[in-house]
Amino acid sequence: MVKYIATRVTYSIILLIGVLFIVFMLLHLTGDPVSLMVSRQASPDEIAQLREQLGFNRPLVIQFADFVKGAVQGDFGDSFRYRQPAMELVLQRVPATIQLASVALFMAIVMGVTMGILGGSNPNSFLDAAARGLGLLGQTIPTFWLGLILILVFALNLGWFPTYGRETFTFLGLKLPDKSIVLPAFALSLFTTGQLVRFTRSAVMEVRNEDYVRTAHSKGLPRLRIYLKYILRNAAIPLISIIGVQFSYLLSGSIYIETIFSWPGLGNLLAEAVGTRDFFLVQATAFFTSLVVIGLHLLTDLIYVLVDPRIRYE
């Protein structure tokens, strides 16, 4: 087990560096941000001087090595635009994104798992058709469009929610979002809902035909008990991995959703940083999100062991 974890962690670190390398190279393929940092009346000398000052005239590999060296020590450089440590800016945005991702995941699980169970246990019924419809819709509907429609209908016309932004209140010392989170979380949750419906539905359909379920039925056990203890518990294993993967996807912050709803999270920050070529800020955001994604995948694998006693890593 320890050996397994050690290997996985090593792989994760290599993967992380790989992701950073790709992000770094892609950024530098587009040139450097110096031209955006000087006014248009600047002289060529001034531009060259600034480029040297910021180290953008050095070979890329050396710049990357420097970046990794700093990152290991927790120094991700200063954002050019904000004149502040990049990681500090990233961490400021984390609570908003975690809240959005958690509420979205909660909504997705409630809608997705419920519809999946209902559909899966009544194959070819109306409910099943609805579940399949929701699954398909959730995964195909463009979030950008959906976000705008939600704003127009529920915020502008019905006036139930604010049109944009994050309003908070303080509860037990925590700044929590109010109803302003509902629309963006719903828009964000739909893709995950679609996945969960489909996976729950097929898992339930598979398990309910197992011999032990038939045995349980013939023993005369109550239906609810069979569902909770025999079907759901066994159908849950693939679901956990889906939920883990989906949560990491939600946590990396949705650029579209956060931009449309002007939700002050990571996706919003990343969109802005890319748009203004704030290299260190993009790299810090990329580092943070890949760390979260890779970390959650690792965690998911470990949770398997706890849920399914048959799985052992030696």
């Binding site: 031209s35 600047a42 945005r93 049109t163 944009y164 309003e167």
Partner: protein, 517 residues
């Protein structure tokens, strides 16, 4: 064990529901409380990097900054420089020494008095390497304190732009406060003498300011609270305005302007922006030795483009054709100088006279992701060129790369771009584009133009300067370094109850006189 887990999960679920209910309730209360004081809520298209005039990198950032800071002088709505923190000033006969008398009744938001030391300090700090607009401080050779309320600003040579540059970027900082908190402390918690005091800034979320009740200009500001909210998506800005969640929005597209016009309780604000879109001829690098060096060819290409058709078809008519780099609203604009009319026959004739009756091939480039519909515009232009026999090899590139190549003078003989000005005069775009070989983004070199632009710098008298601008406009029309295309319209909107919102052609606005009724 398992049951206790379920029970715990149930407790957590109940707590979540309660928290959610509380959230809804408290959300409602907050809104009710807010209605008692007058609050002005302004949308920003992007979050500012700083809210201090010398470092804020976009127009939107400096608009926020000027709610908090003041300069020595102010450019009023009529385009005249008027006193602000300086009561009055005199200029020496040779135009190189300005003596400013400062107001004595001014304090910073934290109570520190405003004195000559703060002006000297603001200049010293403004010249610093890390200051975005240090050039606007470097135009001045020295700033000297004469007494607590008098400063001398000394120049190398007369510079007609100096007061405008001061108005643009010299937001006066408190030396004493800066000494206490340092550069980054100051930028995080800015303190100025302006109409609004800084309260808090949650990046990506909001900037909150409150009225400076001791503001030196009595009767201002007109609202108790000023809140800026970044809303990057323009459709969301429109929805927020219509729903009454925001009071002022800007940076809208033409279609959105139409939808605002149709809505009730909101007002559309439209004006031509001080930005010129053009295609430049590049005689400083790749265009050397190509047909574009011949003035007849440049005139021919100007006649060849039907700019009005481009405006009508690509912008739905929502842009204005321009005749040069000096546009309506700029000092020295002369309406008698008209844009080149669309005349393909004349174009062909001029090409023939220049010795290119069969046309020629030439390269052209443009940025792909930064200006609205600009790729379509350049493609249309290439089509018009083809009609007179000029084949264009048109390439688009990501804007960052494009500007790097532009600064390195590695772009093709023709390229499209745009240039704005925020001072009410065309000087910045002239000095940048035709001001000589020292300007990074210049592509055209004409010694006569370099002289004329320098003459503007050396002419402090506004009326005299206007004449030079007109001369330049005429000269650049007859000997075009550019194909002048259009200036876009700005579309902004406010709630119907917002009064006195008057943005300027530079997309600059001051909110101290704006009220919500």
């Amino acid at each position: 064990m398992k049951q206790s887990f379920i029970r715990r999960a149930a407790v957590v679920a109940v707590l979540l529901v309660v928290a959610g209910a509380l959230a809804f309730a408290s959300g409602g209360q907050e809104q009710q409380g807010a209605q008692k004081e007058s609050v002005l809520r302004v949308a920003l298209a992007a979050g500012p990097n700083t809210i201090e005039p010398a470092t804020g990198d976009t127009r939107q950032a400096s608009n926020v900054a000027w709610s908090i800071f003041d300069s020595l002088v102010w450019l009023n709505d009529e385009g005249k420089i008027v006193p602000a923190l300086a009561e009055s000033w005199t200029v020496s006969d040779d135009g190189t020494v300005y003596t400013f008398k400062l107001r004595k009744d001014v304090t910073f938001h934290n109570g520190y008095p405003f004195t000559a030391d703060d002006v000297v300090f603001t200049w010293q700090r403004g010249k610093g390497e890390k200051i975005t607009y240090r050039e606007d401080f470097n135009v001045v050779k020295d700033v000297q304190k004469v007494d607590d309320y008098t400063v001398k600003v000394i120049l190398d040579k007369p510079n007609s732009m100096m007061l405008l540059q001061m108005n643009e970027h010299w937001g006066i900082l408190s030396k004493k406060y800066y000494d206490e908190v340092g550069e980054s402390g100051y930028l995080q918690n800015p303190v100025g003498t302006g109409p609004f005091k800084f309260v808090q800034w949650n990046k990506g979320d909001r900037i909150e300011l409150e009225a400076n009740t001791d503001y030196w200009q009595k009767g201002y500001p007109k609202v108790d609270k000023l809140i800026y909210r970044p809303i990057p998506e323009s459709s969301t800005r429109v929805a927020a305005l219509k729903a009454g969640d925001i009071d002022i929005i800007s940076r809208l597209g033409p279609e959105q302007a139409d939808s605002i016009k149709a809505a009730s309780n909101v007002k559309l604000v439209t004006y031509p922006k001080d930005r010129v879109y053009y295609i430049t001829f590049n005689n400083m690098s790749s265009g050397k030795g190509t047909p574009i060096e011949n003035v007849k060819v440049r005139q021919a290409l100007s006649y060849a483009v039907d700019t009005q058709a481009i405006i009508d078809n690509i912008f739905n008519g929502k842009a204005e054709q321009v005749a040069g780099m000096v546009v309506p609203g700029n000092l020295g604009y002369d309406p008698s100088i008209k844009p080149y009319p669309y005349d393909p026959q004349k174009a062909k004739q001029l090409l023939a006279e220049a010795g290119y009756a069969d046309g020629f091939e030439i390269g052209m480039a443009g940025p792909s992701d930064t200006y609205i519909n600009f790729e379509d515009v350049l493609q249309a232009v290439a089509g018009y060129f083809k009609d007179i026999g000029v084949t264009v090899d048109l390439q688009f590139m990501e804007s960052g790369k494009f500007w790097n190549l532009e600064a390195n003078r590695e772009l093709p003989p023709l390229f499209g771009d745009s240039w704005s000005s925020s001072t009410g005069e065309a000087f910045p775009r002239l000095v940048g584009s035709v001001g000589g070989k020292d300007a990074s983004y210049a592509a055209w070199y004409d010694p006569r133009l370099v002289d004329l632009v320098e003459q503007i710098r050396l002419t402090p008298d506004q009326n005299e300067r206007a004449k030079v601008y007109t001369k330049i406009l005429k000269y650049m029309h007859d000997n075009p370094p550019f194909i002048y295309l259009y200036q876009p319209l700005a579309f902004e909107a406010t709630r119907a109850n917002v009064k006195n919102y008057n943005p300027r052609v530079s997309e600059q606005y001051y909110l101290k006189g704006v009220s919500v009724e």
